[in-house]
């Protein structure tokens, strides 16, 4: 028997080749999902993504309506248009999911992430860190003689850029919230 010759990127190792004839342009979408705030709902959503092999680039969740028992999950995901469509359909049919909005498709939206960045640095590097923080409008929320903790809010790209500038100045430790997003206007 000849060696197996599976095309790169083919899905045929798991089932019939589902995607070869469809667009394979990978797109990034931000989904806002309104769910019933009940135990296990986050596990249910995450389980869908891992069980069906979808990507999660970022995920945030918090209660948004206490009396109505509603939470909002914001997921940034990537995939071909067919996969993105499946993700939305699979989410929508879940019993505790009330609404799925594809912010990327529905129009302009605001997305923000908060990060806390600890920079451990000495001498001139401390001064440089403060100067860069000012440019990025990051706040100092903790300071010792060896370190600063900066708080920065912005797009993931802005947070990335800030971190990259900090790294040469000293040791960087990072905590990020992931993206929260909402549509502009009404």
């Amino acid at each position: 028997m000849s060696p197996l010759n599976i095309e790169k990127g083919s899905t045929s190792h798991s089932a019939y080749d589902l995607r070869s004839h469809m667009s394979d342009m990978v797109e990034t979408h931000t989904l806002a999902i309104l769910v019933e705030n009940e135990p296990g709902v986050l596990a249910r959503v995450i389980g869908l993504f891992s069980g069906r092999g979808y990507n999660i680039e970022s995920l945030t969740v918090a209660e948004v309506d206490h009396s109505g028992h509603r939470s909002r999950i914001t997921i940034v995901t990537s995939g071909t248009p067919q996969v993105i469509n499946q993700i939305k359909m699979q989410l929508e049919r879940m019993v505790p999911v009330h609404e799925v909005q594809d912010l990327t498709v529905e129009g302009p939206f605001v997305s923000r992430e908060l990060a806390l960045i600890k920079v451990i640095a000495k001498g001139e590097h401390r001064v440089e860190a403060l100067r860069i923080a000012e440019i990025f409008r990051a706040n100092v929320v903790d300071s010792t003689l060896q370190s600063f903790v900066f708080e920065i809010t912005g797009t993931p790209e802005k947070v990335d850029a800030f971190c990259e500038l900090m790294r040469p100045l000293g040791e960087v430790r990072l905590a990020r919230t992931g993206v929260a997003a909402i549509a502009r206007g009404v």
């Binding site: 599976i6 045929s12 089932a15 080749d17 135990p39 296990g40 389980g47 469509n85 359909m89 049919r93």
Partner: protein
């Protein structure tokens, strides 16, 4: 007036309010209060199985043959984990089930208590929805919701996990009409504009085909009746998936037989060559489509499905119709009739001529023998000798299942119980028990292979206890037939672990259970032996020794298209390439 009662009592009350007549279950420490309530009432019948997997499959058989949800009651820990295979089976085949599991008391959850398992965690991807109920006041509401969700939209299994202290505590019973169900109301009616467009396409179609699935059966008997009207009035050919058999009668003149990997030549070539495919309640499963890129390349495709995620999942739909089959077919028929009930009759007649040519190939032909029983012959005789009876057929999974689908004819929906999506060996015996409980006077036959049958044979004890005259018709080739067939075609005839060296004596086994055993190995004795089985008033294990190396044809090899079918042994040399062999 509010009613106060214990959680255990609420379970029984809620089941009664939901019209439940039968519960399949197995007791244990964490469900003792509920079993105590069951003991003190007569409204609900409890069927004691021998293994929790058997309880779930029995409930599936009950549900599939009645259209009502099946109900299961099992204990915590191993009781729940044993039920998992059945849950996934029901999820894949869209069978409505309500499974109640006991759980350790709320104050012990998380302490690795005796017989504790994270049941809702384990079963979350195995159910349509599940709940852990931590307050007795919420128990009745949750059970009512569970029935609502299991039976509305695309049906499926749901699970309610009930800690033991919640069963003991007293709370307020929520009546069925007060339960919270408003948040789950799937859309039933299809989009009128798309239905109109579909009808237009039907009027223009020259080579149409109906491709129907389990959704027609799940939608209820009215859906099958409407489908029959639509087929009769349009004169379009119709094929069905494994799960949809019986929604259109096998004796109907437009019937092409089952399609798919082991489907009929005429059905698959009609799918390949059609110009309009009307999918009603099927999901373009990989057993149906073969190689996606070459699936029915020149057709417009309509897809009617209640589950929006089924549409465009695998195959692009030109007419995507989200809705319930009954509602949509009613509308299709109404619009089609209102527009004058037109079709391109001449073209459709030519299409039928083409189909008749394919049919003339007689793809189910096989070489019979006077010395060994061929499995196909055994099923042909079973079909002939049970024709016209009030008959329900279950199967296990494998070659025998495909032969049963090919050689037995189904005239009505809800008469055919088989594990399609998950392909669960061990499904048939407990399913036959569930069917017989629902239809005590009917003839219930489980067509089995000996290997599948051994997987849940303990349920013969249940059959004996409840005097259920289920007929276990075992096509015994002493092989895992389908595995052996794939090893022959794909793995250089290296038969790795695909035969059983130590099979029981099935006749003695039957006698040990208290059933009747029949052994048959000569084709000349077959009719008499089958009649003996049918006439015996009680459960029978029929050990039918068949040809050991028979392959199931027709077959679309993995990774091939519908027009690349194998019709028999002569076609099989070197047809499956290395790429095909990695597919399932």
């Amino acid at each position: 007036m509010t009613r106060q009662m214990t959680g255990a009592k609420m379970v029984v009350e809620a089941l009664k309010d939901q019209g439940v007549e039968v519960v399949f279950g197995y007791p244990g420490g964490a469900v003792l209060p509920i079993y105590d309530e069951i003991f003190q009432q007569n409204g609900i019948r409890h069927i004691l199985v021998r293994h929790e997997q058997g309880a779930v499959h029995a409930a599936e058989g009950y549900a599939r043959s009645t259209g009502k949800p099946g109900v299961v009651l099992v204990t915590s820990g191993p009781g729940a984990t044993n039920a998992v295979t059945g849950l996934v089976d029901a999820l894949m085949d869209s069978i409505p089930l309500v499974v109640l599991t006991g759980q350790v008391p709320t104050f012990m959850i998380g302490s690795d208590a005796f017989q504790e398992a994270d049941t809702v965690g384990i079963t979350r991807p195995c159910t349509k929805m599940n709940w852990l109920v931590k307050e007795t006041d919420k128990l009745a509401d949750t059970i009512h919701q569970a029935f609502h969700i299991a039976t509305h939209g695309r049906p499926g299994p749901v699970l309610v996990d009930i800690p033991k202290d919640v069963q003991f505590a007293t709370g307020t019973y929520v009546e069925k009409p007060q339960a919270r169900t408003a948040h789950y109301q799937p859309r039933l009616a299809g989009d009128p504009a798309i239905i109109e467009a579909l009808v237009e396409a039907m009027e223009q179609a020259e080579r149409p085909v109906f491709y129907t699935g389990g959704g027609v059966i799940n939608s209820g008997p009215r859906a099958s009746a409407l489908l029959r009207d639509l087929v009769a009035e349009t004169d379009f050919p119709i094929t069905s998936t494994l799960m949809g058999l019986g929604s259109y009668p096998a004796s109907g003149k437009n019937w092409l037989g089952m399609l798919g990997m082991h489907g009929l030549y005429e059905a698959n070539l009609a799918m390949h060559g059609c110009d309009l495919m009307i999918n009603i309640g099927a999901r373009f499963d990989d057993r149906i489509t073969g190689r996606i890129a070459d699936f029915s390349p020149n057709s417009l495709k309509a897809h009617i499905d209640i589950d929006p995620s089924s549409i465009n999942k695998v195959i692009h739909a030109d007419f995507p119709i989200i809705g319930d089959v009954t509602h949509v077919l009613e509308e299709v028929l109404r619009v089609w009739r209102a527009r004058g009930a037109k079709t391109k009759a001449v073209a459709v007649k030519q299409w039928w001529d083409q189909i008749e040519e394919w049919r003339a190939v007689k793809c189910l032909r096989y070489t019979n023998s006077t010395t060994t029983i061929k499995p196909q012959y055994a099923l042909e005789r079973l079909e002939a000798l049970t024709l016209g009876r009030d008959r329900y057929i279950c199967t296990e999974v494998g070659q025998h299942q495909m032969w049963a689908a090919q050689f037995l004819g189904f005239e009505d929906p809800n008469r055919w119980m088989t594990s399609g999506g998950l392909g669960t060996m061990g499904y048939g015996t407990p399913a036959s028990i569930g069917v017989q409980i629902a239809h005590p006077d009917a003839l219930v036959i489980n067509v089995a292979g000996e290997a599948s049958w051994l997987m849940n044979m303990q349920e013969m004890g249940t059959a004996i206890q409840y005097r259920l005259p289920v007929k276990q018709f075992i096509l015994n080739n002493e092989r895992l037939g389908m595995v052996r067939q794939w090893q022959e075609l794909l793995h250089g005839e290296r038969y790795s672990h695909s035969w059983s060296e130590a099979l029981p004596d099935f006749v003695k086994l039957a006698e040990a259970f208290g059933a009747k055993g029949i052994l048959c190995k000569d084709p000349k004795d077959l009719d008499d032996a089958i009649m003996e089985m049918l006439e015996y008033d009680g459960p029978v294990i029929f050990d039918c020794l068949v040809e050991k190396h028979e392959n199931c044809f027709p077959m679309i090899p993995s990774g091939k298209a519908h027009n690349e079918m194998l019709l028999g042994e002569a076609d099989t040399q070197g047809v499956i390439d290395a790429k095909g062999s990695v597919l399932v």
